[in-house]
Subunit: 344 residues, 2 copies
C-alpha cells in the first residue's frame, strides 16, 4: 500500500514494512565516496580511512527503561538513540562516520510518530556527518526499542581510553551536571513541558548533545590522559575511570558545575550537587589532564567555545572515590543509580 494514501494517524502495521523502509531510504543523504555498497544489499561495504583505527559502540534505548513515551516526543527518541552512541565515540576521541539502526516497533505506533522518530535521528546524523548504512525494522509485541551501532575513526596515538589517569592528574568535566535529571523531574511533573521544550533542562534531557568536538580535540592535541562519557552519571563515571586506571579520585563538591535552573529546581545548592553526582543522562565528558598539559587544554577550550570545562578534582593513588564537601567533610561517592541496562 503506497504511503501517499495513508493519513498520519495510520499505524505502521497498516503502512507495512516496505513503506517504512522506503521512507527511511528516501531520506538518507547521498552515498559518500567511501561507501562502496549502500543499503539494499545483504550488507553495506565501506572503505575505512587510511592509517586510522576503527571505533565501534552499540547501545539501545528501550521504552520504559530509557524513555517514557508519555513525555518524550518521537523526534527526541530518535535523537537520543543516536546521541548516546555518538557520546561513546566522543569519549574515545573518535570522529563518527556511519551507523546501523535496528528498530523493534509496536504495531500501534502511528506513521506520523514513526516519521518523527526517523526525522530526529537523521537530523542529528546529518549534522554530525554520520551516514546510516544499514538496519532493520521488526514488529514487536513489547516496548519500542531502537538499537544503534555507531562506527568512527581515530588515529592510533589519539585514542582516549578510561585507563590513562595517574595520581596527580586533574579531573575535569564539560558543561553542567545534573541538568538532565532535573529536566526529567520537570517532565514527570508536567508532561506537557516536552512539547514546548519548556526549559533548558528539559531540552538537555530530551536532546543531549554528544561532545564530539571536545573529545576529538582532547585526543588530537593529546590534552587528556583518560576520558569517559557521563551517560550513567558522575558517580558511575568516576568509579569506572578510577577502576580502569587503577587509581582513585577526589572531587570538590563546591567546584561541581551546576546549572542555575537546576539549583532553583532542587531548592538548594547541596541538593543540586547531590543530584548532579548521582544523576545520569548528562552525556558530558569526564576527563583527566596532566598538570603540564593545562596549556593544551586552554587551546582545546578555545576551540569548543561555549562549552565550559571545569576542574572538579584530582586523581589520587588510593583506590577510593571521595567527595570533599564545603565544610571539609570527606565522603565516599556511592556507585550511583543502576538501571538494568549495562554495556559489555
Amino acid at each position: 500500500m503506497p504511503s501517499e494514501e495513508l493519513t498520519p494517524e495510520a499505524t505502521i502495521a497498516t503502512a507495512g514494512e516496505h513503506a517504512l523502509i522506503r521512507h527511511i531510504r528516501a531520506r538518507l543523504t547521498p552515498a559518500p565516496d567511501w561507501l562502496i555498497v549502500d543499503v539494499g544489499d545483504d550488507a553495506a561495504v565501506y572503505e575505512p580511512p587510511r592509517n586510522t583505527l576503527e571505533v565501534i559502540t552499540t547501545d539501545a534505548v528501550v521504552e520504559g527503561v530509557h524513555f517514557d513515551r508519555q513525555f518524550t516526543p518521537p523526534s527526541a527518541i530518535g535523537h537520543r538513540a543516536l546521541a548516546v552512541n555518538l557520546s561513546d565515540l566522543a569519549a574515545m576521541g573518535a570522529e563518527p562516520r556511519l551507523a546501523t539502526v535496528s528498530m523493534a516497533l509496536p504495531p500501534t505506533l502511528t506513521l506520523q510518530h514513526f516519521e518523527e522518530i526517523v526525522d530526529g535521528l537523521l537530523a542529528l546524523a546529518e549534522r554530525t556527518r554520520v551516514r546510516i548504512v544499514g538496519g532493520n525494522i521488526t514488529a514487536t509485541s513489547g516496548p519500542l526499542v531502537i538499537d544503534i551501532t555507531a562506527i568512527g575513526s581515530v588515529s592510533r596515538r589519539r585514542v582516549l581510553t578510561r585507563a590513562g589517569a595517574r595520581p596527580g592528574h586533574y579531573v575535569f568535566v564539560s558543561g553542567t551536571l545534573g541538568d538532565a535529571r532535573a529536566g526529567l523531574g520537570q517532565l514527570r511533573e508536567n508532561p506537557a513541558a516536552a512539547a514546548s521544550r519548556a526549559s533548558e533542562l528539559v531540552a538537555r534531557y530530551l536532546q543531549p548533545e554528544p561532545r564530539l568536538r571536545l573529545g576529538q580535540q582532547l585526543g588530537r592535541r593529546q590534552a587528556a590522559t583518560a576520558a569517559i562519557d557521563l551517560s550513567d552519571g558522575l558517580a558511575d563515571g568516576l568509579h569506572q575511570l578510577a577502576t580502569a586506571s587503577g587509581v582513585g579520585v577526589e572531587i570538590d563538591a563546591a567546584a561541581l558545575p551546576v546549572h542555575d535552573d537546576a539549583r532553583r529546581y532542587w531548592g538548594s545548592a547541596d541538593r543540586a550537587v547531590q543530584e548532579a553526582v548521582a544523576g545520569g543522562d548528562d552525556y558530558e565528558l569526564l576527563f583527566t589532564v596532566h598538570p603540564r598539559r593545562l596549556g593544551r587544554l586552554k587551546a582545546v577550550e578555545r576551540l569548543v567555545a561555549g562549552l565550559k570545562l571545569t576542574h572538579i578534582g584530582t586523581v589520587i593513588r588510593s583506590a577510593t572515590v571521595d567527595i570533599i564537601h564545603r565544610d571539609g567533610r570527606r565522603q565516599p561517592v556511592g556507585a550511583g543509580y543502576e538501571h538494568f541496562a549495562r554495556p559489555l
Copy 2:
C-alpha cells in the same frame, strides 16, 4: 550478588546485570592483536586489515517473530542470532571478524537459559573466528530481542553484490531448500523434538549454518556474478536479486534441491517444491555464474566439499521471475512470505 550463589533457576533479575556482563566477558576468547581497546571502555577500537573493505550488517531476532521459545532451545536462539548476520556477510564474500551484541531480556528469563543463549552464540563465534567486541544488556517488559551487528572484510575486487546478474548467467543454490520450513513444521507438531534435534530438518531450522566458506570462495575466485542469502526464502531471494540486477530469472521446478526427509514430510514432490520456493530460514546462498566461469565453480565446489551446488535456472532479459513446472507449465513466482521484519 555473586553468580556463584545463584541456582540455575534464578532469574536474571535476581542475578543482576553485573553478573550477566561478567559471565559474557569471562567467556570471550583472548583479544586478537588487531583489537586495540577491548570491551569495557566507552567503545572498542580495532585495526581494519590493510587494503580491504569493511562489510557491515545488522539483524535482530525477536521472540514471537523469528523464534518461539516453546520449541527453540536457548542455545539455538543465540546461534541463530549470530548466524543470520554471518549469512549476510557470506553473501557478500566477506570474512567475518567481529560483532557487537545487544540483548533485551525479560527479567523472568532464568540464569541457565541466559547462559545457554550466550553459549550458543559464542560457540558459533569461536568456530567462525568472530570476536565479540561490545554490546549491552537491557531489561524489557516485552519479548526477548537479540540484535547483532557483524563486521567482516573483503578485497575490493571480490565483493559479491546482488546487482551483477546478466541475461544468460546460470542460477545456482547451495544445499537443499525448504528444510527449515519442514523442520519448523515438525517442531510445531512436536515441540519436544527440539531437545533431541530429532531430525536433520529440525537441526537445520534451529541451527542454520552460514555459508561463509562458499561465499568467500565464490568471491575470491570471481566465480559468481551476483549472490544473496536465502534468509527470506527462494522466492524473495530471486525477486531481490532480479530487481537489483535489472533482469529476470527462470527456474526449473524439477531441478530444485529438496531433502528426501522434506519430501516425505510434505507428502509429495510437488508440495515439497512449493514449500521450498516460499519457505524462509534456509540461509543457503543463491548466486549466478557466467557460463564461461563454470570451471571456476567446479574448483569452488571441491573446496566446499559436502555442500551441494545445484544449477536451478537461468537469468533472462525480461524482468519476470518464473518457475517452469515438470509438465512445462510456466508460472510467475510470488513474492514469498513477508513477515514484518525487513532490512533497510
